[in-house]
């Protein structure tokens, strides 16, 4: 059978009003959430990590209507989380998870899918970890990023949490990936 190539359905913005549909419980709407920022519902103990950050626009202002999705799969554990930036007073997002294991000697990372009003297409980035110095130094993807931009995708360990701020534009613009 000859297969016809179908055109992709075009992407459209998530818009400003996604919260009661996609993150209802976080925003106190009366509809059960599919997922939230807690990616380790059945896990306790000191391997649980927190990742927090703020998404900044091209003027350096925090974005209060972005939605982030985190996905990780190290072959052993698959985890997915979702969080909107409209409920915290500083417009921060917070996820709790477990650091994925390195695969094939590459540095561990978590995929980020980022949506917001003002994005017609979502963007992809990755969260690497500042305390994985040795693996980060040899990681093929990190090494393919110009050195001065590399740290934009490395979450910094500060006390008990990892801080991962996202800058859409400017000197500190986060590296976004083509997936």
């Amino acid at each position: 059978m000859k297969e016809k190539i179908q055109l992709q359905t075009p992407s459209q913005t998530i818009g400003p009003y996604f919260a009661y549909g996609l993150t209802p419980e976080q925003y106190n709407y009366d509809f059960p959430s599919l997922v939230d920022g807690n990616m380790v519902k059945n896990v306790h103990g000191n391997e649980v990590i927190t990742i927090t950050g703020i998404v900044y626009d091209g003027h350096g202002n925090p974005i209060d209507d972005a939605m982030l999705e985190l996905w990780q799969n190290d072959g052993e554990h698959k985890r997915f989380g979702r969080y909107g930036t409209g409920t915290d007073k500083n417009n921060a997002f917070t996820f709790t998870t477990i650091k994925p294991k390195p695969i094939d000697g590459n540095a561990p990372f978590i995929n980020v899918i980022l949506f917001m009003r003002g994005q017609l297409l979502h963007s992809y980035t990755r969260i690497y970890f500042s305390d994985e110095v040795a693996l980060n130094a040899t990681d093929e993807t990190l090494r393919s990023i110009p050195e001065e931009r590399r740290e934009t995708v490395v979450a910094k360990k500060e006390g008990e949490s990892y801080v991962f701020n996202i800058h859409m534009q400017g000197d500190k613009e986060t590296v976004f990936f083509k997936l």
Binding site: Q8, S11, D57, I103, L120, E173, T174, L179
Partner: protein
């Protein structure tokens, strides 16, 4: 490794990050070139929600938020098929739905449009495709609503849809429109899509899907990025 082939975003049908007619893109579009990563297992897989139990009324927005009576507006049923770029169906995949009510008002607290909230309509739901990739949900036809992009700016009536497919590169958030909307030509979000892609966002009215004395039928097929070398093989 996965046998799913990744075809990338098709620039002939996909909108760009930056479109100055849609003003919010100006400070939010990435400005530097995207970087091609070395693909890892997590890039070629994605959440599948196999364990998630839908509520029995999740697919029926005309009933899932009733407080005292039926919501106001024109009842519709939307049917469609979700496939990949080779036309292979994507079975058992989740679709999340949100929209304004028949007056063009969102329940969202940020929406300040002076149109009435319908106490019996939340405007959100979910459904899952069947073994052949087909889905169906019931709702109320949403109204057009004004927004602040430019003077007298109005969004054409639309339903927001969110899909995952089988890997994170097939992730899609889109909007389904209704045929022959006179607002299309004035809407920068719709027109950010290249001309070749615009029709793909517009549902078609279908009398065969229309349920007598109950709901008007519309069809909206969805094509997600990528295709399998071997159908149905995943993870």
């Amino acid at each position: 490794m996965s046998s799913i082939l990744n075809t990338g975003f098709d620039p002939e049908v996909q909108p760009p990050y930056l479109d100055t007619a849609y003003k919010s893109t100006i400070l939010r579009a990435p400005s530097k070139p995207l970087i091609m990563p070395k693909k890892s297992l997590s890039d070629t897989t994605g959440p599948l929600f196999k364990d998630f139990n839908l509520g029995s009324l999740d697919h029926d927005l005309t009933k899932n938020a009733i407080k005292i009576a039926e919501p106001l507006g024109e009842r519709i049923v939307v049917h469609g098929k979700v496939t990949n770029e080779k036309g292979q169906p994507i079975p058992h995949t989740l679709i999340e739905i949100w929209q304004a009510n028949s007056a063009g008002r969102y329940v969202h607290k940020v929406d300040q449009h002076a149109a009435p909230i319908d106490p019996n309509f939340l405007g959100t739901g979910r459904c899952i495709t069947d073994a052949e990739g087909n889905y169906k949900f019931y709702t109320i036809k949403p109204g057009a609503y004004p927004w602040g992009n430019h003077p007298n700016a109005w969004r054409p009536a639309h339903i927001h849809l969110s899909l995952f497919g089988n890997q994170i590169s097939s992730r899609l958030i889109t909007q389904m429109y209704f045929p022959n909307d006179p607002l299309f030509k004035y809407d920068p979000i719709f027109n950010a899509v290249p001309p070749k892609g615009r029709d793909l966002l517009v549902s078609t009215f279908d009398l065969n899907l229309t349920e007598p004395s109950f709901a008007l039928g519309y069809r909206f097929n969805i094509v997600l990025r990528g295709h399998n070398a071997t159908p149905f093989e995943n993870q």
